[in-house]
């Protein structure tokens, strides 16, 4: 009687298929994928826009010479292996921690807001030796703070 038989007994499968070869292949495939497996890092992006009035498209924009901005200087110290940061106007004060830096930026932002100025960028003026991670970290802090305009300071392109 079928009900009393164990599952998978030979009488259940009248056509016997040799699965050994298939199991071998699956084992090999499994081994390959297990060895080559690495967890995918969650990648994303931080969007930014470069100025349209530089490079090949040089259209005068009539911007004032003295710009309203919060300029953050980043300097690489090879001896200590750290990046020192300071804000324009307080160059002597090196802001070691993120809290100190953001406090100064917030203070400047509040000053601009109290004067009714809203359209100003945060300019990142970093030395070429500064690690990219430190620059991205500053961008990250500014995005967290809700500062929409982040710009990179760069030397003007030479006129050919």
């Amino acid at each position: 009687m079928a009900g009393t038989q164990n599952i998978g007994e030979a009488s259940d499968n009248p056509v016997a298929i040799n699965v050994t070869a298939m199991v071998d292949v699956i084992f090999c495939l499994c081994l390959f994928f297990m060895c080559s497996f690495q967890f995918k890092q969650l990648e994303g992006k931080i969007e930014s826009w470069l100025p349209k009035d530089r490079g090949m498209n040089t259209i005068a924009t009539g911007q004032p010479l003295v710009r309203e901005e919060i300029r953050v200087f980043m300097k690489w110290n090879p001896d200590s292996g750290t990046t020192s940061r300071s804000v324009l106007g307080n160059e002597a004060q090196h802001l070691a921690t993120d809290t100190e830096l953001m406090a100064v930026i917030r203070q400047r932002r509040d000053e601009y807001t109290s004067q009714g100025k809203t359209d100003w960028p945060l300019m990142i003026d970093a030395q070429s030796e500064v690690p990219w991670q430190d620059v991205v970290h500053l961008m990250d802090l500014c995005k967290n703070e809700g500062l929409p305009r982040i710009e990179f300071a760069a030397p003007e392109a030479p006129i050919n």
């Binding site: 994303g44 470069l50 070429s128 990219w132």
Partner: protein, 172 residues
Amino acid sequence: MARKGLQTEHDVSPNLIPMVDIMFLLLLFFMLGADMGHRELEVVKLPLAQTVKEDKEDADIETRLTINVFHLYEPEVMCAAYKAEAICRDKTHWRIAMKGKQYADHKLLVKQLQRYADTQGSDPSKPKISEKKLMVRADKSAPFGLVQEVLKDAVMAGMYKIECGAARPAPQ
């Protein structure tokens, strides 16, 4: 009373079907989880940022250009600083690559960018600006100057929509 003799020989045939089922599921998991994407052929340790936006739903992902700024790999160059996750400032160890090709000459890179951005050959008096996006995937310890040069090249090629590649830190 005659006792029934013990049967000592059994035909032992293990049932392979559940094992095959599990093996199939394991195989499926590893196959789907395998990261077969070449990421334009370079391995880059991306900087970490909390505010990164995932670009899964980005419609322009297919047409987007990717520039990698990366440190040379171990067999090609032996760099103790990079291996120790310190900052390597040897200029000869860093490379800029796009679509698997390395660019040491920035003029050549600008030309290639113009070609992909479809701004080449435009009237110099009325230059075109490309709407194509450029993803800059720079290593977290790459010098900012190198990224700055890539950004400058992008501007020269008429590309202004830039995306900085970053990774989200693992949840604690």
